[in-house]
Subunit: 141 residues, 2 copies
Amino acid sequence: MPTRKANATWEGGLQSGKGSFEGESGAIQGSYSFGSRFGDAGGTNPEELLAAAEAACFSMALAVGLEQNGTPATRVHTDAACTITKEAEGFRITTIALRCLAQVPNVDADTFASIAAATKAGCPVSKALAGVDIQLDAALE
Amino acid sequence: MPTRKANATWEGGLQSGKGSFEGESGAIQGSYSFGSRFGDAGGTNPEELLAAAEAACFSMALAVGLEQNGTPATRVHTDAACTITKEAEGFRITTIALRCLAQVPNVDADTFASIAAATKAGCPVSKALAGVDIQLDAALE
């Protein structure tokens, strides 16, 4: 089964150092720093990558679930917000909040809600992120 | 504490559909498909994003741990390989294998190994990815 690769390099200390990463596909790369992760400096950070991974996996998996139900979606759009919090033992990624809007002809709201909830619990990235409270607000549009 | 946002859209069915994602920073965006996730088609996928997040977080956190030990690193480089496997109940992200090479003046190998192991277990993205077996091969260069 597929194995996907990426790498990252950090140079220097926490406050003054700098990081960069790139994926093997060539499609993703970026720089990060203490400021881009814990402050408002430009650049990306691991939490944005996790939010993108969860949003991408959830949107794809919800489309699959709706297709398997015989009510395929035209479009599934998901916003993900990933929060990191300082705790006594250090930083912890506490929540990823999903807001999903889906165009699904011919599905009733209860069935949609049930499939969306099952997708939140069961999609591969949700299962991987078992240490995070994943929250879902899903609606038909 | 910081909340980082990204979004993704999936249009169409599993085999014929297509996805795209973007992060709020503007630093990451990409397209994905069944072929780019489970085959060899071009484009990225959620597993590559998870590999990048884990590599980025681990490299930064190991630099912090070495700095706190009084033996700051000059450079920490980490390759991450994320594997997704088909199981009876569907796809599961099973492992992220990390290979780390670090330039650390004045640290002994045992201390380095201990700090690296603690970082693997305790960095925020590792803790978030509690459903994944994270493996580490770390060496001084």
